[in-house]
Amino acid sequence: MLIDVHSKGETGPTAVGLVTEIHGRRVTAVGECRIGPGALGSGLVVVGPHTFLKLAPGAVRDRIQLGLIRLRPGLDPAAAAARLRGQLGADVRVLTRAEVEEIDQGNFLERRPVGILFRIGVALSFLVGSVTLYHILAVETSNRRGEYATLLALGHTRRALVGVVVQMGLLYVSLSFLPALLLATGLLQLVGRVARAPALLEVRHVLLVGGLCVVMCATASVLAMRKLRAANPAELFG
């Protein structure tokens, strides 16, 4: 077998030459590969078909999990897939590489509880972030009520003041975004090392979080603006 050196720690040492058992049968690691564990499986080995049939009782030679198709260079995968679908029976699905990845991911995100839990986690973090930012802005606004009242008395419109609050919110968010990003990168690297998970922080994730931050900022500012309505120039003399 080839052993995946990115398997998680508890699967034991992953060196070439290792002799151990799978399902009570002796196997020897004759080489290594680098694939990494999934969210549920913790390790992986690659074996040839003969070994596989011996290791997996009940496996039948004539029945396979997946068939891999390599096209001649220059052929359009979608068109080839359509042609295959026309020729093969209904007991086989023809999928392009993108479709397989999409199905695998959808399977995980939508049908399995993992995806539901992580998504609710994102929603909750967003809520907590919004409430925190709102709290900061609300306190800031009401502490500076005198200044805002002065600005109003000087002839600034309420709309202009609202703009100031929004700017303040954006400033807070953008100031903290970079340190937060660095912290998150460090944390994810730590997670990746401990869980050996491919916890990748991709550009689209950063953009998603950035977008959420802007939405968070807008919501919090709009809510905090209500504090401004209380800003009354007459209060200056109170």
Binding site: R112, P113, I116, V128, L190, R196
Partner: protein, 384 residues
């Protein structure tokens, strides 16, 4: 020095002076508490869901392979060990349980899509099940190609009613009853069937090996003493475990050795850190806002000790005010998540108490820290 009138609830009045701000601060603490509860709940969903199967079994002790630390690990024990166990004084029965969850493709009766389902098998004559609903229906499993289906299975396994017929591993199977067991992180549904049917569907399984042995004791026998006797009587290829040990092993496996458990473990660490930090910051901010009235009190002759008490009270009130809706919110999150995922998340009193203590303790700690800052409040500052 003036003795403060006892009936004036100073801390409360300081908080109530600015009600809108009190509402914001309180709800922020509430959200922090909900965040902590939900992260802890996510992890519980991974670990506790794996355990409800054990609650349905009538087991005083378990026999399992030493290589096995979860249902995930397909390590079996020789059935001969069960016969040996029956000879040990105090043992009333030692019953085999067979298990398959990988090669058991279940065909959704509507969509005809195949997904693995957990299959548990046993001798239908054995008094294995504690739950009356399961016990009553197990009798129907004597006929060929029959099974009981867990009605809490995930939707994608299909709509299954009593009398439904579909395929398991491309072989006909008839559902003769529905039970309630529940799913976990790995298993999307469960089938119960007789051992005879099991070996019909999974002929590659060896009949003289089983996944787990369930030991039932004679009335009055001490589990600890019988476990000791069993350990001495049985060879090293079997481990003797109490139900508590068996469940702890399963829980530990899910929390420490699966990626889901590790990731949610990180979630708990981050959630609790952010939650307690928020509590601290909110209380510290509130005390800071109250610095002018506090300085006034000091100028009126209140001692530092008295002021510190007021501040700690204020912190505790604020903490409680956020905690109660926070606990209610946490409960709502658990109920929604259980309904949405089919996982088990127990809102145990112990868990509530631990997290509440943590949040409240952090608030009081923040109050104490803020009270130290108060020393810098100079009554003279009031005059500026």
């Amino acid at each position: 020095m003036i003795a403060p009138p006892r009936h004036v609830p100073l801390a409360w009045r300081l908080l109530a002076a600015d009600r809108p701000r009190l509402v914001i601060s309180g709800s922020r603490i509430a959200f922090a508490v909900v965040l902590m509860f939900s992260q802890v709940g996510f992890l519980a969903g991974v670990t506790e869901s794996a355990l409800h199967l054990f609650g349905a079994l009538r087991a005083d002790l378990y026999l399992a392979s030493p290589d096995r630390d979860s249902w995930e690990i397909d390590a079996e024990i020789p059935r001969a060990r069960l016969y040996q166990a029956r000879a040990v004084p105090g043992v009333a029965a030692a019953l085999p349980l067979y298990f398959e969850a990988h090669r058991s493709e279940w065909k959704n009766p509507q969509s005809h899509q195949e997904d693995a389902i957990r299959v548990l098998a046993f001798d239908v004559e054995d008094p294995l099940w504690d739950r009356p609903d399961v016990r009553d229906q197990v009798r129907r499993l004597g006929a060929a190609d029959t099974a009981l289906f867990d009605r809490q299975a995930r939707d994608f396994l299909g709509q299954v009613a009593e009398g439904s017929t579909t395929e398991l591993r491309q072989r006909r199977v008839r559902v003769v009853g529905l039970i309630d067991l529940g799913t976990d992180f790995r298993h999307d549904g469960t089938l119960l069937m007789s051992d005879d049917n099991f070996f019909h569907y999974f002929p590659e399984r060896r009949r003289d090996w089983c996944a787990v042995g369930v030991v039932q004791l004679c009335p009055g026998a001490s589990p600890a003493r019988v476990a000791e006797r069993l350990r001495q009587a049985l060879p090293g290829d079997v481990r003797v475990l109490t139900p508590a040990e068996f469940m702890a092993m399963e829980e530990r496996y899910w929390a420490r050795r699966t990626m889901a458990g590790l990731l949610f473990g990180f979630g708990v660490a981050v959630g609790v850190f952010i939650g307690t930090l928020s509590c601290f910051q909110i209380v510290a901010g509130t005390v800071q806002d109250a610095s002018v009235p506090l300085a006034t009190l000091q100028a009126m002759g209140y001692s530092r000790g008295q002021l510190r008490l007021v501040v700690v009270q204020l912190a505790a009130y604020l903490g409680l005010l956020g905690l109660l809706p926070g606990i209610a919110g946490g409960k709502v999150v658990y109920v929604l998540l259980q309904a949405g995922t089919g996982l088990t998340m127990n809102f145990t009193p112990g868990r509530v108490a631990r997290l509440s203590l943590l949040a409240l303790g952090m608030c009081v700690l923040a109050g104490l820290a803020a009270a130290r800052e108060l020393r810098k409040t100079d009554p003279a500052e009031l005059l500026r």
